[in-house]
């Protein structure tokens, strides 16, 4: 498996997916070699066996500046090296299949396929259209197009994403399979088991501070909410290049005393954040899936989802809004803060529903895609 991030070195859903998927594979007795860039720390004795190929500088997801020409050439070098490593290890390992995640490792997978003649599965977690607010990078789009067309099977994390691939990349829909992300429901503390220290109600945003995640809409909704209810805190967790702008914007809106920016939250604080919040909002302009919503569900925290998110396909236990409909978003937030019965009924049903989306299920579905090929 060719990946990019792996816990603890991760910045988004991609790393979570790779970690949980390979762990579930291990439980099912499937051996995985996971290729990833070398980080500062050498990781040993992990499952799956991590093969750290070479260092690649710049975190691709945290800042757009990282997408400079330097970065692109680093990625290319990494891909070439990665394919060489795969070929070398294959002599002894005899891999059955190559599976890569997102554009960053597409070329390695395509090269490796030529070298070792094994089928290639490509999981698309997001495309350049989802990640770039302003204008997509043509180079990256080209790589994605190559991946989508050359892979033997393409896995997407939602039907929304599948449609995007067929619409925008002209992909063959017969080769695309949808495998939703999962959540480990027992890993998350339940809302009702956690003590809150303040009477203040908390509304949570958790994600990269980037245009397509909808932080601006979140702040606009916050202002509307505060015009009706007072004792509410809006917590925004996550890093990203829009952070300074958003802080300024909250001052402009006159609500800076009600908004807390936490920056990037380490894994250890995630659970608390979900469990101590009264509402979780995912206002994304474009969100191929949205694992955080599943995590909030597993914590029993009611969720408000943008209709343009993959996760909104899978659960009826949520409130759905158009990302631009700030009034409705505010109205839903107010209702969830005001009606305990609504908050609780939704939370209980969410926890129940989240159980359906285990990583074991995601692993089984991925395996059945493999079985179509080997």
């Amino acid at each position: 498996m060719l990946g990019w991030e792996f816990p603890p070195f991760k910045s988004g859903g991609l790393g979570v997916h790779c970690y949980e998927l390979t762990s579930a594979f291990a439980r099912k007795g499937i051996e995985v070699d996971f290729y990833m860039p070398r980080t500062e720390f050498e990781m040993k004795g992990t499952t799956p066996r991590l093969i750290q190929v070479m260092p690649v500088h710049f975190g691709p997801y945290t800042a757009r500046e990282a997408y400079g020409s330097d970065f692109m050439s680093h990625v290319l070098q990494y891909n070439i090296k990665c394919a060489e490593e795969v070929e070398k290890n294959n002599r002894e390992k005899r891999y059955d299949l190559i599976h890569n995640h997102d554009w960053l490792t597409v070329r390695a997978a395509v090269l490796a396929k030529q070298k070792i003649k094994r089928p290639h599965v490509f999981t698309v977690h997001s495309t350049e259209y989802d990640r770039s607010g302003m204008g997509p990078n043509q180079q990256i789009l080209d790589i994605e197009r190559i991946g989508v067309h050359s892979a033997d099977r393409v896995i997407t994390v939602s039907h929304m994403m599948k449609k995007q691939l067929t619409d925008k990349f002209g992909a063959d829909c017969n080769r695309i399979r949808v495998v939703y992300n999962g959540v480990d429901p027992d890993k998350f503390k339940k809302k009702w088991e956690v003590r809150k220290y303040s009477k203040e109600k908390v509304v949570l945003f958790l994600g990269r501070m980037a245009e397509q995640k909808g932080p601006v809409q979140f702040l606009q909704a916050a202002q509307k909410v505060l015009s009706v209810v007072k004792n509410v805190r809006f917590v925004m967790a996550g890093g990203g290049d829009m952070l300074p702008y958003l802080i300024n914007y909250s001052i402009q809106l006159g609500i800076s005393d009600r908004v807390t920016f936490l920056g990037y939250l380490p894994e250890s604080q995630l659970q608390e954040a979900y469990a101590k919040s009264d509402v979780y909002v995912l206002p994304s302009v474009s969100e191929p899936f949205g694992i955080t919503a599943l995590e909030a569900m597993a914590s029993g925290t009611p969720i408000i989802l943008s209709k343009t998110s993959g996760v909104s396909e899978i659960t009826p236990h949520c409130l759905k809004v158009d990302f631009w409909d700030v009034n409705k978003m505010a109205e839903y937030i107010i209702a969830l803060l005001k009606y305990r019965v609504l908050n609780h009924t939704m939370g209980m049903n969410e926890v129940e529903d989240a159980r359906k989306f285990s990583w074991d299920r995601a692993a089984d579905e991925t395996l059945s895609v493999y079985r179509e090929l080997v």
């Binding site: 009706v228 009826p316 236990h317 109205e331 107010i334 209702a335 009606y339 609504l342 529903d353």
Partner: protein
Amino acid sequence: MPSICFYFQVHQPLRMRRLSIFEDNNGDAYKLYFNEKLNREVFEKVARKCYLPTNSIMLDLINRFDGKFKISYSLTGVFLDQCNEFNPKVLESFEELAKTGCVDFLDETYDHSLCSLFQDKTEFKEQVALHTKALKKYFKCKPVVFRNTEALFTNEIAKLVEEMGYKGMVTEGFERILGWRSPNYLYRVKGCSTLKAFLRNYRLSDDVAYRFSARWWSEYPLTADKYAAWLSRSEGQLLNIFMDYETFGEHQWEDTGIFEFLKRMPEEILKYNNLNFKTPSELVALEPVGEIDVPTPLSWADMERDASAWLGNEMQRVCFRMLGGLEPMVREADDEQLTRIWRMLQNSDQLYYLCTKSWADGDVHKYFSPFDTPYDGFINFMNVLQDFRHRLKQKLKIEERR
């Protein structure tokens, strides 16, 4: 020799509009709360697909069999209002049917409500009286058999209905109350002296209402002669085939062959000497064979056949309590329009949309719901109820000043 008792429920909900707290919510409450455009569209569609063609088939059948084919209906007041407002032709076609003398009508609550579960039964009596008055006006009849909203039934409600002068009442023939006994007989009700219960034969009813077009069903396709043979083999005094009238042409679309089935059915049934058609008013004279005891709510909805379709979760119960809690203010305000709206809000459908059951029934709830999710429905219903309470308060304040 079993008599076949056909009974059809005719109703269309009043779907609500989305009420936003960020909008200016002054003006006519009816226009503000209810989605007139959607209600009109749905009514017109169902009139075209179901009411008008089915009524015309029924009328032909009644004429053709010269008094041997009989059916019964209950039409909610909400439905009658919509006929008047959206398409009077539908009402006329029911009036035509009433004139044949082969059609029986049952009474129910005017507003298709759950007010039989309110502590105070005044509202229930008033809604039933309104319905009786409407039936008298349109169909010149006075029903002797009662049908509560969605066949909702308890010993207590039955007692009340008996005191109001009815001889019979309709409900579900469910194992929970019947045990080994058959629904094909009349039963006495615990605590009542003369009232007789008609119990729906849900298997024979659902064969048509739900399974008619189900390809997974081993008996698919259901033909009129096959169905008639099943009926003729049944034991008992009467076969209660009760269903939503919208089965014809709306739940089962025309292309499933449901109309052909209906057209063929009476002649196939009348081929058997042991079968005939009778109305509830005629059948209520039969001797009951035993007694049923229904201490907790029984209905024909969902798999549980209880009140959980409307009051199964806490959100639904909160709304229902709030609705009931408004009664003293509504009575004090004594305003015709506000009372009318309070009753429209009591439509059981408004609570039905808030159901969160996740198994097969959930799909049915979703199919009928104008909301994305039950939570969305709850928020909207609460917004409406609060706006309504505010209006009541204002009205009372003005009264006080005078």
